[in-house]
């Protein structure tokens, strides 16, 4: 049930597809996109991995073949060359394409629920498990003084 096809082509009207086949199909990161500066290029790759392709939903623009992903990859590189920080590049893209393109929703506002749900459940779960464990071990606690003496008597016999 998993691993059904990447939707790359599935939702394209046939004429677009024909266009694709006639011209070069866009390919995830093309050789001509790569920046000569290796630090900038690796920053660009890091950023593209966290940006969702706006037309294909489940893929990052780093993996996607959609033309818009290529445009976005080029924009990222343009901004980096212009001297933007990573945060500025993200802001630039979010301002134009909406927060839906961020694969890594920032941990603020309502998204805090997303980020904190796991740790919160962990704390609650551990607390419950500990409490249940206490209850379970409770009957085992130490013998009373009376029992203690009685036990000694029995052992002596």
């Amino acid at each position: 049930m998993t691993a059904f096809p990447k939707r790359r082509w599935a939702n394209c009207p046939p004429y677009i597809l024909a266009l694709f086949l006639a011209v070069t199909p866009a390919w995830a990161v093309q050789p001509d996109e790569i920046l000569a500066d290796r630090t900038l290029e690796s920053r660009a790759r890091e950023i593209s991995r966290d940006i969702r392709c706006p037309t294909c939903q489940g893929e990052s623009i780093d993996d996607s073949n959609a033309p818009i992903s290529r445009d976005l990859r080029l924009i990222i590189r343009e901004r980096l060359v212009a001297g933007d920080t990573d945060a500025e590049v993200f802001d630039y893209i979010v301002a134009r394409y909406g927060e839906g393109v961020l694969f890594n929703p920032p941990a603020e506002g309502a998204n805090l629920v997303l980020w904190l749900a796991g740790p919160a459940l962990f704390l609650v779960g551990s607390a419950l498990a500990l409490a249940a464990g206490r209850r379970r071990t409770a009957p085992e606690v130490a013998l009373s003084a009376e029992e203690e003496t009685r036990l000694k008597e029995i052992l002596k016999e």
Binding site: F4, K6, E59, E99, P105, A117, G133
Partner: protein, 656 residues
């Protein structure tokens, strides 16, 4: 005619399932042996009827009967026979028919091999199984009937999506379904136990093999899908945190939790209520998975055949079964008295920690998966959740799990000594840290993920071996080796599966950390370096395949002047489906895969070429195989055959 027969058999199967889900239940309530005895034959008959139906659909695909709508949209006369057959489940309707078939097979397996089950429990288990059958048969017949005829059959079909025309993917759905649906057995046993109001060690012993089998199938199914993505999608990715992948991952995680908590029920008669709850949740997540895939509510790269009406129907099924069973749980859980008490430091506690971590990890995957839906429906915002979130939010729990696994697995039942477990693991700890440090020294300036993964993997893997060794006793030398061979299969299964987990943890981090990538334009005849290798693009030619045309590259990989491999990466076009695909060429190796992808011809001349060194890729699949093998070894343990009635419980594969 054959098609109508199949359709008719499916309707009959629904009728039989209705009988199976009601009369035996009534019989068990009233103590009427005749009504209870109906369950077994009904389950067998249901399997026979669904089998006939499935065979009829397969026949329609094999002979390319284009009067069937499903065949038209998913097949083509020129398609190779293997894919004509796998096309049966390569679509919504057919895959659901397979789902129902597997469900019926599991039910029939209980009927046939469950002779040692108490009559009442058996009747109830089969009745619950029958109810699931009714729900899904109704779903199939009302919303997704595969036997829908076309008034005007076309001359040829529209072909199966070319990406699915692949041997790995032909087997991927059946295995996943065997896993998903296998969890229905744990569910049916759980609900039956709730109705009875009794859970004991014997119950744990009946549930565990089914869960183990389901988990083994899920492991193989997920690994197949991941392997397919690795070689087919053209950039060596193996996991995408895609909603549909998560849908299979969540039941897998919960099945692990269930396996471990059922051990506690079986050996110590403790954690009963929690185990029941886990069984309900595990199957609930299988249903949620089906819902996510079939409704398309959460957009996924996998979305292919979906429809909101079907989604609503599955949501109703999900609501009925999980809701109903949870209400039953709330009413009856109190009756599940725990017998065994245990100290805070004990094997039981370690398994509780395992369960807490796995449940939380599952929950993190779940909330990450549905968060975009929450965003749209409740917050009115368009949100995405992807790999970076899961890496940050999910991984810590896995790391914690890996850290506690070796000492936890060696603790004594009831009251353990953590110091003693850890002392036994000192050599393992030293080895793991040394390996991590070595890796850190050898790699310069790369992410710490690789060394940490190696350390953690070695800790878990060698820890599993140390555990096995510790079980051979305290004597010296040869006697211990002799005892090693006589250890129960369950011990070997445990060690193998845990070792496989270690291998998997290492391989995943190695692949993420040490991958080498190269993207460039290459002229024919030109060479370029790739890690320690030299790659030459010899020539590019057009080749005709059975139902596609291919642009094929010849590339020679050399190392120090020696030819390592000649690889043929391809770009294919399937004219019927009008779809291009890329076929990466991979030289599989023990320590690394060389992975080559041919891109497009450039206007300036030459070809775009993407090449990767994928370190330890084969270790990932090996790790999964070891985990599955560990499960099979445990399944073959004597106690399931002896204690649960000689030869009665199937030693492994209940469904075939």
């Amino acid at each position: 005619m054959i098609v109508e027969l199949g359709h008719f058999a499916l309707i009959l199967a629904l009728m039989v399932a209705l009988v199976q889900s009601t009369l035996p239940l009534w019989g068990a309530h009233r103590g009427d042996a005749r009504l209870m005895a109906l369950a077994g034959p009904a389950a067998l008959l249901q399997m026979g009827l669904v089998g006939v139906s499935f065979a009829a659909l397969t026949w329609a695909f094999v002979v390319s009967d284009f009067s069937l709508a499903v065949v038209v949209s998913n097949s083509h006369t020129l398609k190779p026979m293997l894919y004509k057959v796998s096309g049966v489940w390569g679509n919504h309707e057919g895959s659901l028919l397979l789902w129902v078939l597997i469900l019926a097979v599991y039910g029939a397996a209980v009927a046939a091999f469950g002779g040692n089950l108490p009559t009442r429990l058996k009747a109830r288990v089969l009745a619950v199984q029958g109810m699931i059958g009714v729900a899904f048969l109704l779903f199939l017949l009302l919303t997704s009937n595969p036997f829908w005829r076309l008034a005007l059959p076309p001359l040829d079909g529209q072909d199966l999506n070319p990406l699915l025309q692949d041997p790995g993917l032909a087997l991927h759905p059946p295995f996943l379904y065997l896993g998903y649906v296998g969890l229905s057995m744990a569910f049916s046993f759980a609900v039956a136990a709730l109705i009875e109001g009794r859970v004991d060690a014997a119950w744990g012993r009946w549930v565990r093999p089914w869960t183990l089998a389901a988990w083994v199938f899920l492991t193989i199914g997920i690994a197949l899908g991941s392997w397919w993505a690795y070689y087919e999608l053209g950039w060596g990715g193996f996991w995408f945190w895609d909603p549909v992948e998560n849908a299979s991952f969540m039941p897998w995680l919960l099945a692990i939790a269930l396996l471990h908590s059922a051990i506690v029920v079986e050996k110590r008669e403790s954690l009963k209520a929690w185990t029941i709850l886990l069984a309900i949740m595990a199957f609930g997540f299988s249903l949620i998975g089906t819902f996510i895939v079939r409704s398309g509510v959460i957009t996924s790269v996998h979305a292919f055949a979906n429809d909101p009406d079907r989604g609503v129907f599955i949501l109703m099924i999900l609501g009925f079964f999980t809701g109903g069973s949870l209400i039953l749980f709330a009413l009856r859980a109190g009756a599940m008295e725990a017998r065994g008490v245990f100290a805070l430091v004990s094997r039981e506690s370690a398994l509780v920690a395992n369960n807490v971590l796995l449940a939380v990890a599952t929950f993190v995957v779940f909330i990450g998966t549905i968060w975009p839906l929450v965003g749209t429906m409740l917050l009115g915002r368009d949100l995405s959740v992807g790999e970076p979130f899961f890496n940050a939010a999910f991984s810590p729990f896995v790391v914690a799990l890996a850290l506690i696994l070796p000492p936890g697995a060696m603790l004594a039942w009831k009251r353990g000594d953590i110091g003693r477990s850890l002392r036994g693991l000192i050599p393992v700890m030293v080895l793991a840290v040394a390996l991590g440090a070595l890796a850190f020294a050898m790699q310069t300036g790369r992410t710490a993920l690789g060394p940490i993964g190696l350390m953690l993997g070695a800790w878990v893997g060698f820890g599993a071996l140390a555990d096995l060794w510790a079980r051979t006793g305290r004597e010296q030398g040869g006697a211990r080796f002799a005892r090693l061979g006589r250890l129960p299969r369950a011990d070997w299964g445990k060690a193998t599966a845990h070792f496989g987990l270690g291998v998997t943890i290492f391989a995943v981090s190695a692949m993420l950390a040490w991958k080498i990538e190269d993207i460039r334009i290459v002229q024919e005849g030109e060479s370029f370096p790739l890690g320690a290798y030299e790659v030459r693009l010899d020539k590019v030619e057009d080749v005709q395949g059975p139902n596609y045309t291919s642009t094929m590259g010849w590339m020679t990989v050399t190392r120090d002047g020696e030819v390592v491999a000649v690889l043929n990466p391809e770009k294919r076009i399937y004219p019927v489906a009008q779809m291009p695909t890329t076929e990466a060429a991979i030289d599989y190796g023990f320590l690394r895969d060389v992975y080559l992808v041919l891109g497009d011809r450039q206007q300036s001349g030459g070809w775009a070429v993407r090449s990767y060194i994928e370190p330890f890729a084969n270790w990932l699949w090996a790790g999964c195989i070891l985990m599955a093998l560990g499960g099979l070894l445990s399944l073959s343990d004597r106690r399931y055959r002896v204690a649960a009635g000689a030869r009665k419980v199937p030693a492994g594969v209940p469904a075939e």
